[in-house]
Symmetry: C2
Subunit: 334 residues, 2 copies
């Protein structure tokens, strides 16, 4: 059944159920032109949006609709998480090619809903229009954070330690398996594909961190740790040292690096879309934060470096040498 066979309202019927996780927060949801929602008293409102376009951000294949939907939502959840916030309500706009299978669009929505359920928020509305050549998915996500808790990239200070949640490079290594048909152990393949297709934005981890200590800066890792460290350093006007030996790297990534003869850094510093969070905190607080994240959520948090003076630049410490770390790669320094 094509989208053009069932029309806009047929499509809406296919996708409209099972969108509300917290009904008490929705006064008027899908069906009216405007959603009427509750916002928790005393909290700041968070809002973020991302657009994904077929052929630019993803390819349509018969069985990948759910993955693409999940990924579109997860990117927005990660943006809310890195602010220290809790996601509450999403709106989905979709431009659909009329000749697409309606079941594919249903799968995309299943992916969007899979993510909204996992992170316990509502899909409260949207817009479904015709798009002649490319499937377009736009997510607008709202959330909240306490006025004294929202996180920025700009408050890191020399002496702060740098932490990351989870492992680095899993998503990039998963992509390597898919695009270059690399063969690894079954266990590694299963792990990396899951991590690539269904990354887990760190909402609970950051909330646990906020309870445990003072976070001076934070950013989600969407373009690789190397890039986010540069963002934080630039916004905070500081330098940074990353300790290679401390980087949390899964055995599965090590397997892929070995087989492909690529440097581990290609995965864990310059591979994007892990949706982990990098944070900075004063040393005593950093230890407390790492422990609290592990205790409250089961997710590892690892101290991987420290903030230094701006004049020292941004460096990688590896094999007893400091190398200058550029945004997208590294060059020998000393």
């Amino acid at each position: 059944m094509k989208v053009s066979d069932i029309g806009e309202f047929g499509l809406i019927d296919l996708i409209k159920d099972d969108t509300i996780y917290n009904p008490d927060d929705v006064v008027v949801g899908i069906g009216d032109d405007t959603a009427v929602l509750k916002h928790p008293p005393g909290k700041l409102l968070l809002a973020t949006t991302d657009m994904m376009i077929e052929t630019v951000h993803f390819i349509v294949e018969p069985d990948n609709g759910e993955k693409i939907g999940y990924r579109a939502m997860a990117a927005n959840v990660s943006d809310i998480a890195s602010m220290g916030g809790i996601p509450t309500h999403a709106m989905i706009s979709m431009g659909v090619r009329p000749e697409m299978e309606a079941s594919y669009i249903e799968q995309v929505y299943n992916g969007l809903k899979k993510c909204s359920k996992l992170y316990e928020f509502n899909i409260v509305g949207g817009d479904t229009v015709s798009s002649p050549q490319n499937l377009v998915i736009n997510v607008a996500l709202m959330g909240w954070v306490e006025p004294d808790k929202y996180l920025l990239r700009s408050r890191a200070r020399p002496g702060d330690l740098i932490l990351v949640t989870g492992n680095l490079g899993d998503s990039r290594a998963g992509l390597e398996l898919i695009t270059n048909k690399i063969k690894v152990s079954e266990k590694a393949e299963e792990y990396l594909l899951e991590r690539h297709y269904y990354p887990t934005p760190r909402v609970k981890e950051i909330r646990a961190a906020l309870e445990a200590g003072t976070i001076t800066s934070a950013d989600d890792i969407s373009d690789g740790l190397g890039n986010e460290i540069h963002e934080i350093a630039s916004a905070s006007e500081v330098g940074a040292v990353i300790w290679f030996d401390e980087l949390p790297i899964s055995n599965a990534v090590k397997e892929v690096a070995e087989i492909t003869k690529k440097d581990l850094l290609d995965f864990c510093l310059f591979g994007g879309e892990d949706f982990e969070v990098v944070m900075t905190a004063p040393p005593r607080e950093a230890e407390l934060i790492a422990r609290a994240i592990k205790n409250e959520t089961g997710t590892e948090a690892t101290i991987i470096g420290k903030i230094v003076d701006k004049s020292q630049g941004i460096m990688l410490f590896r094999n007893n040498q400091y190398k200058k770390l550029s945004k997208k790669g590294y060059v020998h320094f000393n």
Copy 2:
């Protein structure tokens, strides 16, 4: 200069200024991944979104960028207005063809900003991506309304009167001038093109109405009055009579109808995108509401019919006859 010449960040530089109307409500705006905003205490949160795609919703011509941007924003403002709300913060996602002129995209943003300034709200963020074949514009707009004031389509009762703001059919008549190159008086042309390109969502009018009396249902006129009356009647489980002689029709629309030999109803009942609001209210309240709208805002509000029992259906009273009014046209009834 093409978009591909200046890149994503060059484009963001072109458009990022002059987006904030109420700086006190913005803690973190454009530049971070997530906007951090203030929401007025005790108010419900409104959220709406609309996607427009080149060739489906608009055509790109050298000088129409500002009009398209204004129109994209106004459609969302109208949705907030018809809920009784006040718009506060918008997020803009745009998929841009790389070979487009950067100045065209700047013009689209100028149109978006023109509308956000007129309605006194902020543009707080968005996403700018590459789109291979069609310009895509998505607006997500937030706002607020008091918990005891939000309007629905579903509470109209037999005996209520039906009101509309402004004139009906101006936008459709303006479109007629553009597509069929109709010649009318200079005054009429100027008026209709302005009304077509720069419609004025009725935020202040509805707020004045809410202060003056009880509104039992409301909807903005995006698909023609005929369609919206059907929406209200269906949601409220009632019928309606529209009095033809009372419909507010500009002299300019009458001029176009005469020249094109079209029925006035084609413009004022079945022409869309006027972004006026149709409301229902008990008779005594309706008079108060119409007067308050005029006094507070200068905009005319006209009583054009009444709500009747569902069994009577939806009718047009014209030349002393009742005709059945269908969603998209009318058929002889009696």
